[in-house]
Point group: C2
Chain length 240, copies 2
């Protein structure tokens, strides 16, 4: 009586989003199994039956989280890598968008991802997402290859694409565990190793992001003598 309504009544759509927000937080913090529905409900400022009424079982709730976050991420990437750009530029933008997104969602995204990979029953949604990503990357590579009149078996391409995506995922994990790290810088370094390769890097060749100094975007000029200011030993390849 004295306190009044205590808690507000909110429309379903809003509450659902609140629940998903809390669920992502809790799942990330505790892991899928250790997270209890009670805790999630409490974090959302709501009681458990409401969660069941709106989002279904625990598994369905988790998949809903994964789906929402995954869709957001995909949109971020797709929006960044326009299909009419050269391959390295697309790769760079996609990478930047990806790591940028993860960096902005730190504890949120990467952990969901890890959880989903571990649990058989949750892996389906994730598999679809990653398959789309690999497909995009493979398509990009294929496109670039055709432009050069070359051709490669799909399986080969898939492995390369998978390696690229996998390396990015791992760096996403790394980012999640290193709050002080800069996504932008990490993306550049990843781009260096992915596009140029470790061998080139060791010889001092570097790739640089949006090329403003020279006309060319990257120096494929072979030859061990690096003409970067890298000799100073300070800044690695490139800092955007």
């Amino acid at each position: 009586m004295s306190t009044g309504p205590a808690f507000k009544r909110l429309p379903r759509a809003v509450r659902q989003q609140q629940m998903l927000d809390s669920a992502v937080r809790i799942f990330s913090r505790r892991g899928y199994h250790s997270a209890s529905m009670d805790e999630i409900a409490e974090a959302a400022g709501i009681s458990k039956p409401m969660v069941y009424a709106y989002l279904g079982t625990k598994e369905e709730l988790f998949v809903a989280c994964l789906h929402r976050e995954g869709t957001r991420m995909m949109e971020a990437i797709a929006g960044a890598a326009a299909p009419d750009l050269p391959a390295d530029e697309r790769l760079w933008r996609g990478l930047r968008a990806f790591l940028g997104f993860v960096g902005a969602h730190r504890d949120g995204w990467a952990v969901l991802y890890r959880q989903a990979r571990a649990e058989q029953s949750l892996a389906r949604e994730l598999t679809v997402m990653r398959a789309r990503l690999v497909e995009v990357v493979a398509g990009m590579l294929n496109h670039a290859l055709r432009a050069e009149g070359r051709q490669v078996a799909d399986t080969e391409l898939e492995v390369v694409a998978y390696a690229l995506v996998g390396a990015s995922e791992s760096l996403a994990d790394w980012l999640a565990d290193h709050p002080e790290a800069d996504p932008e810088k990490t993306a550049t370094q990843m781009m260096n190793v992915a596009w140029l390769g470790a061998g080139q890097l060791l010889h001092g060749v570097t790739w640089r992001p949006a090329g403003m100094p020279a006309t060319r975007r990257h120096r494929t000029t072979p030859g061990p003598g690096a003409e970067r200011g890298a000799a100073s030993g300070g800044p690695p390849p490139v800092t955007p």
Copy 2:
């Protein structure tokens, strides 16, 4: 009467190994949480209290599994990549050993790895393992750099090493999910993208394992499939 003693009495060391074998199998098949101690005990042909007596709690048991498998893997890698070889050769051998190991243990290793990453409480052991791997790779890169009189900050090196290790881990996952895939071939492809980079690959530059081009070592392994002929339609860049 017909069965006789039913179950044999075995020395502790042997039983422990049996238990670990079963535990790895069950954990891999079911996942950490879904695996029950009863099932593991049954698979080992033993009863539950024995498991507790020898290996402790469920968590301790899992860590023991991870530790044993991880140590074996580390030994395989360390034994392959001698420190007095050139960087690319070391990377190649390490990669080969790593993916070869995973390929030989398919369901065993990769799944343990995934489980461990998901669960906070299990991650410690894994973190140590991976840190050692990253350290090795970073050390290798650093060594190669010094040989050229160049120098790079440790953090930069770590990121590159992490990307390399991460990409390899992802391919290990891929291998685990693709029983028909050939670890050797996958390792070569990984080496291509890691050492040469996607940019070089797209231009048709390829890396090849040993110094000899047409000798044994690792031909494209025609394999059973007729239409899978990698040699058809010109020399693809990625094929060794």
